[in-house]
Amino acid sequence: MSDTLTNMLIIVICINVVLWLGQVAVLKNNPEAMSFINCSGSILESSSTNGCSSYEIDDSNPTGRLPSGVSSVSPETGNIFTDAFTGLKNFFLNTLGLEYAVQILGAPYNFLKALSLPVEFVFAVGSLWYLISVFILGAWLLGKD
C-alpha cells in the first residue's frame, strides 16, 4: 500500500505543478486572463519559504521534515504498534501538516472544481479518489503494507 500512496502523492504533485505552470503561462500571456489555480493553498506551498510570495524553496531544515519516532514505549500504556502509528501520525500532522493530507485526499476534487467542470462529474471523480486514498492513507498509517 505504501507504493500506492507514493504513486498517488507523485501524481497529485505532478498535476499540481503542471496546472500551476499552465496558469503562470496564461497569466504571462495576458495578465487579465482567468485564474483557475493559485500557488498559495496548493500542495506547492508547503515547500515554499514565504508561502508562495517569493517562490523560494524552504531547504533550511531538511532533517526537520523527516519522521521521528516516539522516544520511549511504556509497556503499560502502549506497544510497538501504537508507537509506530503515533510516530507516523505525528509526522504527517505536525511536520507535513494536516493540510498536506487533505490536499492529497481532495486533490482531484479541487483541480476539477477549479476548471469549472460539471459539479456531478467533479463530485463523482472526487469521491472516488477520496474514498480510495483515505483507505490507503489509513492503511499506511497503521503499517498495513
Partner: protein
Amino acid sequence: MILCYATNGLIGQVITGMINITGSLFLTLMLILMILIVVAIALSLPIEATSIIYLPLLIAFASCEADFKGLLGAILIYLGFLLASWLLPKN
C-alpha cells in the same frame, strides 16, 4: 472581450472573417482547434507528439477566452499524469 490577435496580418484577417461566420471568438478558436485535431488524427500522430502543438495553442487560446479553461485543464492534467508516469518508482 480582449483582442488577442493582430488584425492587420493575414491570420488576423482570417480570424476576423471566421468570427463574422461563426459569431464568436470562442467558436472560431474551437474550429481551428478541431481542424488541427482532425489533421492529427488523419496523420495518425500520437497524442504525445500533438501536445507539443496543442499545449501552447491552448495556453494562448485560454489567455484570450476563459471558456478554454476546461480544455486547457484537461490537457494539463494529462501532461501531469505523463510527468508522473516518468517519475513513478520502477519496481
